[in-house]
C-alpha cells in the first residue's frame, strides 16, 4: 500500500514511531498529485516547495524529541476560500485570481501550530456558490470515481482530492451542504460542525450566519482528528461558541447500543432516487442490528427549507460580496470613465454568472418593499425549522437521512438549470438553517458504482455522538473505496 492511500490516523502512528518521515509522506502525496491531478483537477494552487519545507521542519523537530500533535507532518489540502497567509486564496473567482491574504484564517493558525503540511488550495464553486464545482472560474473538478461526473460542491476540490488521495485529509466549508454533498458524491467522510464550533475568521464569507468550516477525510477517525484540531472558541469571531471542546478522536467509540435514530419521512419522499433510498435504509438497518432504536419522525417544514435557504444565503451573500469593488484589492477592470463605471465593469467582469445571480437575488429580497415578504418570512421559517428539530431531538439522538437525493450527475448536465442544481441541496440545507452538526459517511454504491452517502444529523454540539454512529457503521459495513484512476 502506498503512503498516500493511507488514513491520517495510521500515518500519524507511523510518523510517531519513525517508520516514515513527513518528507517521504509529502513526496508520496505530491507524486500522486503529479500522476492524477491532470484527470481530477482538484487544485487551484499547489504549495509543493513550502510543503516540503514544513515537512522537513517537522521531521527535524521529531528527531529532536519535541512533542508533536497527532496531525504533525500530515499533508492536508485547504479549500480556496480559507485565507492562507502568503498563499493565493482565490475563492475560484476571477475577482480574487491574484489575491494573496496578508493574514491567516484562525483554522490555519491552529493547523500550523499542529504542524500540518499544506499541499495547496483546492478548487470550489466560485465563492462557494454551487453544487458541482462547475462554477469555478478556473476549471471544473472531476469526480475521481467517474471522471465525466461532477464531484459535487461547493467543496468539490476538497472531496475529490481526498478521494483521489491527492491529500490525506482536507478542509472544506459548508453553507448549505458544501462539505457533505461532495463527500457523499466522492465516497468520503465530511463533517459539517455545529455553527460556532469552528472559527470563521479568515473564511471568505458567503453567508455568514450559515457558513462553517469542517474536515473531509477517507474515514471517520481522520475527520474526528482534524475537527478536534480546528474547533474551539476564537475571540476573533463573535459567533464562535464559548464552551468546552473535548477530543473527538480520543473519545471515538463504535457504539450505538440504545441510540435513538429518527428517520424523517420528508427526507425519503419524492425526488429521492430509489437506489439512494435503499442504500441509506440498509445502513440504518445495520445500525439497528448493532443495537440502535429506529423510529420514523416528521419535520414538516422541510419542504420550505430550500426557499428559505436561498433567500437568507443570497441576502447575506449580496452584502458580503459587495466589498469586491475593485478599489483596494482583487480584480479591477482595465478601462472606465467614472467611479460607477469602474464598479459596474469590475463586478460584471470579475464575477461569474452564478455569483451574479445570487447577488441579484439577495439584493432583491433585501430591497425596501420586499424585505418582509422574502427575507422576513425566510427568517420566520428558519425559526420554525429550528423548533421542529428541537422538538424532534427530545425523543431521538440522531437523525438519519440521505445526504443527496441522487448520486453524482454528469458534468454539464445541470449547469444550465439553476433550479435543478439548487434542488440537490434539499437534504442538507436544513442543517445549516438550524445551525446543527451533520456528517456524511459513505454507505455503498448505486448500480453505476457511484458512491451514496448516509447523512447523520445531531443536536447542537453532539459531534461526538454523530461521529460515533458513523464510526460504528463504517467499521462493520462501510469504508473508503479506492477509485480507479
Amino acid at each position: 500500500m502506498e503512503l498516500f492511500e493511507r488514513n491520517a490516523y495510521e500515518l500519524s502512528d507511523m510518523l510517531k514511531n519513525k517508520e516514515i518521515s513527513s518528507v517521504e509522506l509529502t513526496k508520496s502525496v505530491f507524486e500522486r498529485i503529479n500522476s492524477v491531478e491532470d484527470k481530477v483537477n482538484a487544485y487551484v494552487t499547489l504549495n509543493e516547495e513550502n510543503a516540503l519545507k514544513t515537512a522537513e521542519q517537522i521531521d527535524e523537530k521529531r528527531a529532536n524529541g519535541e512533542s508533536l500533535s497527532a496531525l504533525a507532518g500530515i499533508p492536508i489540502g485547504i479549500k480556496d476560500n480559507i485565507s492562507t497567509k502568503g498563499l493565493r486564496t482565490t475563492c475560484s473567482s476571477r475577482m480574487l485570481e491574484n489575491y494573496v491574504p496578508p493574514f491567516n484564517a484562525t483554522v490555519m493558525n491552529k493547523l500550523e501550530d499542529a504542524g500540518v503540511v499544506v499541499t495547496g488550495k483546492l478548487n470550489m464553486d466560485e465563492f462557494a456558490m454551487g453544487s458541482s464545482t462547475e462554477t469555478s472560474y478556473f476549471k471544473p473538478t472531476c469526480n475521481p470515481h467517474a471522471l465525466d461526473r461532477i464531484p459535487g460542491g461547493s467543496s468539490g476540490g476538497s472531496a475529490a482530492a481526498v478521494a483521489a488521495c491527492e491529500a490525506v485529509v482536507s478542509l472544506g466549508s459548508d453553507t448549505g451542504g458544501s462539505i457533505r454533498q461532495p463527500a457523499s458524491y466522492c465516497g468520503v467522510v465530511g463533517l459539517k460542525p455545529t455553527y460556532g464550533a469552528v472559527s470563521r475568521f479568515g473564511l471568505v464569507a458567503f453567508a455568514s450566519s450559515l457558513d462553517q468550516i469542517g474536515p473531509i477525510g477517507k474515514c471517520v477517525k481522520d475527520v474526528a482528528m482534524v475537527q478536534s484540531a480546528i474547533n474551539g472558541r476564537d475571540n476573533m469571531d463573535a459567533t464562535s461558541a464559548c464552551r468546552e471542546y473535548t477530543d473527538l478522536s480520543a473519545n471515538l467509540k463504535a457504539d450505538v447500543k440504545g441510540l435513538r435514530i429518527g428517520l424523517p419521512k420528508e427526507y425519503f419522499g419524492e425526488g429521492i432516487d430509489n437506489e439512494v433510498k435503499t442504500s441509506v435504509l440498509n445502513a440504518v438497518k445495520e445500525l439497528e442490528k448493532q443495537g440502535a432504536v429506529v423510529k420514523e419522525i416528521s419535520l414538516p417544514s422541510t419542504d420550505y427549507a430550500l426557499s428559505a435557504y436561498y433567500i437568507i444565503s443570497s441576502a447575506e451573500a449580496s452584502s458580503n460580496l459587495a466589498r469586491f469593488d475593485g478599489v483596494r484589492y482583487g480584480y479591477r477592470t482595465e478601462n472606465y470613465d467614472s467611479l460607477i463605471d469602474m464598479y459596474e465593469k469590475t463586478r460584471s467582469e470579475g464575477f461569474g454568472d452564478e455569483v451574479k445571480r445570487r447577488i441579484m437575488l439577495g439584493t432583491f429580497v433585501l430591497s425596501s418593499g420586499f424585505y418582509d415578504a422574502y427575507y422576513g418570512k425566510a427568517k420566520l421559517l428558519q425559526r420554525r425549522i429550528s423548533e421542529e428539530f428541537n422538538s424532534a431531538f427530545k425523543d431521538i439522538d440522531v437523525i438519519a437521512a440521505p445526504t443527496v437525493p441522487t448520486t453524482a450527475f454528469k458534468i454539464g448536465e445541470n449547469i444550465g438549470d439553476p433550479l435543478k442544481m439548487y434542488a440537490t441541496d434539499i437534504c442538507t440545507v436544513t442543517v445549516n438553517i438550524a445551525g446543527l452538526p451533520a456528517v456524511s459517511v459513505p454507505c455503498g454504491n448505486d448500480s453505476n458504482k457511484l458512491p451514496v452517502g448516509l447523512q447523520l444529523i445531531g443536536n447542537k454540539f453532539t459531534e461526538q455522538a454523530l461521529l460515533n454512529t458513523a464510526y460504528a457503521y463504517e467499521k462493520t459495513a462501510g469504508g473508503f473505496i479506492m477509485p480507479k484512476l
Binding site: N81, I82, S83, T89, C91, L96, Y99, P101, P102, F103, A105, R200, F201, G202, L203, V204, A205, A207, S208, S209, N235, M236, D237, A238, T239, A315, E316, S318, S319, A322, R323, F324, D325, V327, R328, Y329, L339, Y343, T363, L366, S367, S368, Y371, Y375
Partner: protein, 480 residues
Amino acid sequence: MVRGYEVVIGLETHAELSTNSKIYCDCKNQFGLEVNSQVCPICMGMPGALPTLNETVVDYAIKMGHALNCNINRVCKQDRKNYFYPDLPKAYQISQAEVPLCENGYVDILVDGEERRIGITRIHIEEDAGKLLHSDKFDGCSLVDLNRCGVPLIEIVSEPDMRSSAEAKAYLETLKSILQYLDICDCKMQEGSIRCDVNVSVHKPGEPMGTRSEMKNVNSFSAAVRGIDFEVNRQIDILENGGTIDQETRRWDDVKGESVSMRSKEDAQDYRYFPEPDLLTIVVDKDRVNNLKAEIPELPNAKILRYVKEYNLPQKEATFIAESVELAKLFDDCLAKDKYPAKSYSVWLLGDLVKYLNETGKNLSDTMINADNLTELVGLIENKTISNAGGKKIFAVILKEAKDVNKLVDELGLAQVSDIGLLEKIANEVLAANEKSVNDFKNGKTNALGFLVGQCMKASKGKANPGMMKEIISKKLEEI
C-alpha cells in the same frame, strides 16, 4: 418665526467616541496619524475578516443615553447599511436600524434665558468611514485614507423640536458640553469629532408641517446657523413665489454660503438594512445600565439652570462656569460651604482666574487655587479686612504658591485701616491741603468728593477702608 413662517428643525448629530481602540478591531482610535497607518484586515474589510464589538462603545453610548434621559434598550441588534463608496471598505456600514441602543429621551436647553425641552428620538452606535483625499498631485486619482474606518460613532437624532437657528445652536452647544462632561468625545470640531445633518422645513402658523429638506456636510455650529438661515429663506422664497418644496438631500457649502441639491427623494438610496450576522445581539444587564447611570455627574445644562435660578447668575456667566468641568467643580465646592454669596465667587472665577488661565494656557489644576483658600479670601473682603485691590494682590500669589491667605494679609501689609480716629486725622489733613476741591464741592461739583476720597486713600497708602473713608469725608464736607 421668520418672515411670517414657523421654522421646524431637527438635527442628526454624529459624535466620535474617544475610546482607545476602534469599534470592531484593536486599531488605535486616534486622529492625525500617518495616512493608512492605523489599519488592519478588519477595518480594511479584507475578505474573511470579522468584527468583534468593543464594549466600551456600548458603555459610552449608554452614558449619553442616560444624560439625555433616554430609555436604554438592553437588548438590541446591529445592522448592515449597504452602499458602495470608496471610503467604505466593506461596502456596508455596521449601524443600528430598527432598535437603537437608546431612545425616547429629551434635553433641556437655555435660549436667551428661556428654558426649552428638545426631544431625543434615538441614539445608536455605528462605525465611521474612511476619508477620500483629492489633490492635483495625485495625477487624476483620488486616494483613500482608512485610518478613520471603524472609529466609533454615536448618532443622536433629535425630534423636530427646534424653531430657530439660535435654538439649534444652543442644542448643539449643550450636546457638546454634555459629551465633554461625560468625557466620551474630545469634541474637536476642526477634526470632525462632531458633525451634523440638519432637517429643515417651514410652514405658516396654523397650517400643517411643510416638506423638509435634509442638509449634509455641516461641520461647525456656526455653519449650522448659517445653513439653517439660508435654507429657511430659500424655502420661504420658493413658497412666496408660489412654488413647492421638494423632499431632497442638499449639501451645505460653507465657503459659498449656500446649499446645493444632492439628490431628490426619488433617487434616495435603498440601504437594504438587515441584521449583521457576524455580531451577536447586544445584551446589557440591568446592573451595568444602573452602574453607568451612577457615573453620570450633574450635567452642565442642569448646572446652568441651577446657577441662574438659585444664584441669579446671568445666563452667560452661568454657562461659562458650567461648561468647564474644573471651574464648575471649584464653584460648587465654594458654594457648598454656604458662607458667602455666589457672586462674590463668580467675580474671581470669571475675572482674575480665567484671565490667568487664558494668558498662561494652564489648567485650574495647575494653580494653587482651591475652594478653601478662595473662600478665605472672599471672607476677608466680605468682612472688610482687606480691600478688593488687596484681594487681587493675594489672589495673584495664591495662584502660584500654596501660601496661607491670612499670613499674606500681614506679609503684604494689606489690612485695611478702620480706626475712625486715624481715618479722621487723614481726612482733616487732606481737606486742609485741598481747599480748591472743597470749594468746588460746595459749588455743586459733586465729583470733587471722589477726588478727595482718592487723595485720602493715597495718603493711607491704600490701606484705608474706602467705604468708611467716603462716609467721613462726606460728613465733614457737609459740616464745613
